[in-house]
Symmetry: C2
Subunit: 208 residues, 2 copies
């Protein structure tokens, strides 16, 4: 698993001609960093006398951000696996009509799976953005810039996920699937953009 | 060095109450991921017959993006070190007037150094954004979404760097330094925002 290997290994392989890890895995890692920053803000607020009135909410926030971080960490690998499965299907023979038909069916299935992963990354990034708002609102003010960085990463994650949804959609023939997926993805992008605006305003205001 | 340790270690420590790694290191890692994606687009274009007319430019692009990736990788650590040095100064005694005066001098020096690192991360992110534009313009069209993700990460990096510049500026008494640094930082943010807009437009257009 990439996550158990050195950061340098991930970056070196990313920069190489190896098609994976690619933009989808990077989006998930970016989202994991955002969730990690929310957890950090919560960690720096827990047990602090000055924040005794919000301890229950902060503990809940920490649990939720750690859950999202775990999901994002799993999605780094899931994106690579879906891409690998798709690459295998592209190698299927297409000499006869029967082979072509079988390949088309498998390809459409693999494309939908490969599309599903960045879509899930996008949905998860919206949850990270929501938590960054709570971190900026009730978390340790000395760490408010970290809540700000968290929402910036959530937004970069969402927009990167959208690009990776779009690539797959372009090859998927099921228009109902495409329309529904893209409409929901746009809705996620709009919600994340609104959160980014509001959390950044809070962050700069609290930094003074 | 964080970069030689597993991704999981970085994320676990980020989420903890340990103040480092913090938003500055995360900004640098985000920038390194962006530079790595530019290198990937270049790698996937090198030696391809279809792109034979741009081979020289692509090789130059790869060299430049790898240089920026190395710089960003070094900045991950540099931010942590500057933060560590600052934390040490905060622990200096302040019982007597002489101690207070000595501490203030050291503190102002350490704050400027801690401010310099995210500022450098911001400047480097602008270079990454410029390269992502070239990657989107002349790189393998099959990897154009990766050029798009690169510019999104460059922007998140620049904005995150700005937040970390701002925190330090708030405690720095040298107003001339603060004004110059913040004005230049704003200029970087404006340039990166313009590049993000244009590279995203190119990416969506080329994806079809």
């Amino acid at each position: 698993m990439y996550i158990d290997q050195p950061i340098r290994h991930f970056l070196d392989k990313l920069a190489s001609e190896s098609p994976e890890p690619g933009g989808g895995s990077v989006a998930a890692l970016t989202g994991a960093l955002g969730a990690g920053l929310v957890s950090m803000v919560a960690s720096l607020t827990m047990g602090k006398e000055k924040y005794k009135d919000v301890q229950l909410q902060i503990e809940a926030l920490f649990k939720e951000s750690e859950k999202l971080r775990n999901e994002m960490q799993a999605l780094i690998q899931k994106d690579t696996e879906a891409y690998g499965a798709l690459s295998e299907v592209y190698k299927m023979p297409k000499n006869t009509d029967a082979e072509k038909a079988a390949r088309t069916v498998k390809l459409q299935e693999a494309l939908k799976k490969a599309c599903q992963v960045p879509f899930e990354i996008g949905l998860t990034s919206l949850e990270v953005a929501k938590l960054s708002e709570r971190a900026a609102d009730i978390g340790n003010v000395a760490a408010v810039s970290d809540a700000g960085v968290a929402v910036l990463l959530a937004q970069a994650c969402a927009q990167s996920a959208a690009l990776n949804v779009k690539i797959n959609i372009n090859s998927i023939k099921d228009q109902a699937f495409n329309n529904e997926t893209w409409t929901r993805m746009q809705d996620v992008l709009n919600q994340v953009a609104a959160l980014e605006k509001s959390v950044m305003a809070t962050t700069y205001r609290k930094m003074g």
